[in-house]
Amino acid sequence: MTQGAGRRMVIGIGNPDRGDDAAGLEVARLLRQRLPGGVEVSQHAGDAAALLERLDGVAAAVLVDACVSGAPAGTVLRIDAAAAALPRWGGSASTHGLGLGEAIELARALGRLPMRCIVYAIEGQSFALGAPLSPPISKAVVEVARRVAAEMAADPIEGREARVPAH
């Protein structure tokens, strides 16, 4: 599924029905109208295999997800996933057996990881069914949206070749 080299993408990951797990989705929603032309913004449920497909043929990706590491609620972590494996943060808060960390490592093992791949992880507090975002997480969502917008505006990768798009 190669759809042109140099695709750039922001993917917000989460479950809208599980409290702070929606943080990534909310960042994507805020960014819909705020990014430079050519940057695709999407929301994703976080299933590793489907995420892997979404990343196929992408040159630069920013992924935003909720996490549970024991840090204070609303803590934002920025990780350069192209440079090194994601730290284990006590399992992604995703309700799936395979989540973002697995998707990235699988993409790396298959030679499909975007050349530039940044993960923003927002420390969640409550993942109760049907709960809204907790206040510290709402605040972090706004901050991450601002940082991602700045990062994409400055990103120089547009037009470069994506790595090994296979199927």
């Binding site: 449920a45 299933d47 309700t95």
Partner: protein, 429 residues
């Protein structure tokens, strides 16, 4: 002291999380308990007071892996309550949608979750480093399933195009044609995947299961059929409650299903296959024979081959449907609200999924009951562990632990449907 304890805190590579405790005394497995916590109970309460038209979209949220199964059991139950029957093109589209879900769900399990057990890897990532082509092929076949879901369901996850009486929008014939090209490739690839799984090394373990699955007069079952068993049960879905019961087990918020007075039973690929081999397409039957399977399979470890055969069948059936598809005049049949009781039983990738609703005169849901396949299989998973793990007790601790996990994964338990956390605790005294 001949007893020992093996504890696995977290059982990976199942959909969701749960806990497992195996107790060993004097060299024998005394008991095996799977403990899980179950969201469907929450959904049953949540459905009360909602309109009958909302059930497909609400229940689709129970599981991100098998939303179509929840939608299908819900719409069939509502149509049963309201006396609606759908036209042939709509029936075909429902089968096509189900093909998409089986392809997606089975390919995920075969390639990413179960194959590492047989090839000796901790998980799909380690396996992908050495078997990249097999993983790429599995994911590319899965993508064919995603594309069916995206087209018919309106999107890949939590499809929104299904309604009581049919669909909100039926696809044009020409929209299905590009799908056919990918499906032809996927069908060939699935045949290779059947061969690939057939070469794995399987523990020589069998049990005399009571298989339970739908059986239809002509088709390999997705949406329709009577509920039959390998011990002679043959009933319409409306009689489900007369023959099956759920009991609460303290360690788990999931209910355990049993045959009334008759013990555990098994639903899912092994049961469907063994009760419906003659309903598979000639190509799928041929692939099964080539893989060394008889028309009945009682070795649960070989379920990985059966899943691959079902993927091959689903590709074949999807192509057949696309070939004969005629656009329906209307995308749905009108559904007029009314009082009634309706049941629906369809074949989720993991097995029989039963819904029962009672509706008030204005179509409001007064009662809802959902019995997911993993609840039905729980007693059988525990009995497999009790029967099989004893044969592995002389193995090193790591291998024993891995065998326990593999035995649970034979069922592709959808613990996010039926459960939340899974930990493995093996107590040897």
């Amino acid at each position: 002291m001949a007893g020992r304890t093996i504890k696995v805190d977290y059982l990976a590579r199942v959909e969701g999380e749960g806990g497992l405790k195996v107790v060993v005394r004097d060299g024998k497995v005394q008991s095996a308990e799977l403990s899980i916590f179950e969201p469907p109970r929450f959904f049953e309460a949540f459905l009360r007071g909602r309109a009958f038209t909302e059930a497909p979209d609400i229940t689709a949220r129970i599981c991100g892996i098998c939303p179509v199964a929840y939608q299908m059991s819900a719409v069939h139950a509502m149509e049963n309550a309201l006396g609606i029957s759908v036209t042939q093109p709509l029936r075909d589209l429902r089968r096509l949608l189900y093909c998409g879900e089986w392809i997606e769900s089975h390919m995920l399990h075969v390639t990413m979750l179960h194959a590492p057990d047989f090839l000796g890897y901790a998980g799909a990532i380690d396996m992908a480093r050495d078997h990249g082509e097999a993983v790429r092929r599995g994911l590319a076949v899965k993508k064919a399933g995603n594309e069916i879901l995206a087209l018919l369901g309106g999107r890949e996850i939590h499809p929104i195009n299904v309604r009581v009486g049919g669909f909100y929008r039926a696809p044009r014939k020409r929209e299905l044609e590009p799908l056919a090209e990918r499906l032809k490739w996927a069908r060939d690839a699935a045949r290779e995947i059947v061969r690939w799984t057939a070469r794995f090394d399987f523990p020589d373990r069998e049990r005399d299961y009571t298989f339970v699955a739908l059986r239809h007069e002509r088709d390999y079952p997705f949406n329709e059929g009577r509920i039959v068993s390998s011990r002679g049960l043959d009933i319409p879905a409306a009689e489900y409650d007369e023959h099956f019961e759920e009991t609460h087990v303290e360690r788990s918020t999931a209910l355990h299903s049993h045959l009334r007075g008759g013990g555990s039973y098994l639903v899912g690929p092994l049961a469907r296959y063994s009760l419906n081999f003659d309903r598979l397409s000639p190509l799928a039957q041929e692939a099964a024979r080539e893989a060394g399977l008889a028309s009945r399979c009682t070795n649960p470890y070989r379920s990985i081959i059966v899943r691959a055969i079902e993927v091959l069948y689903a590709c074949d059936e999807a192509l057949r449907i696309i070939g004969v598809y005629e656009e329906p005049e209307l995308p749905s049949v009108a559904a007029v609200p009314g009082a009634g009781i309706g049941v629906g039983a369809t074949e989720a990738p993991r097995g029989l999924l039963y819904h029962r609703y009672r509706l008030d005169a204005d179509g409001t849901i007064a009662e809802a009951r959902i019995v997911p396949p993993t609840s039905q299989n729980q007693p059988s998973i525990e009995e497999d562990l009790t029967s099989f793990v004893g044969g592995f007790l002389d193995r090193p601790e790591d291998e024993l632990r891995r065998r326990c996990e593999q035995t649970v994964r034979n069922y592709d338990p959808c613990i996010s449907c039926a459960a939340h956390f899974l930990r493995l605790d093996l107590d040897r005294g």
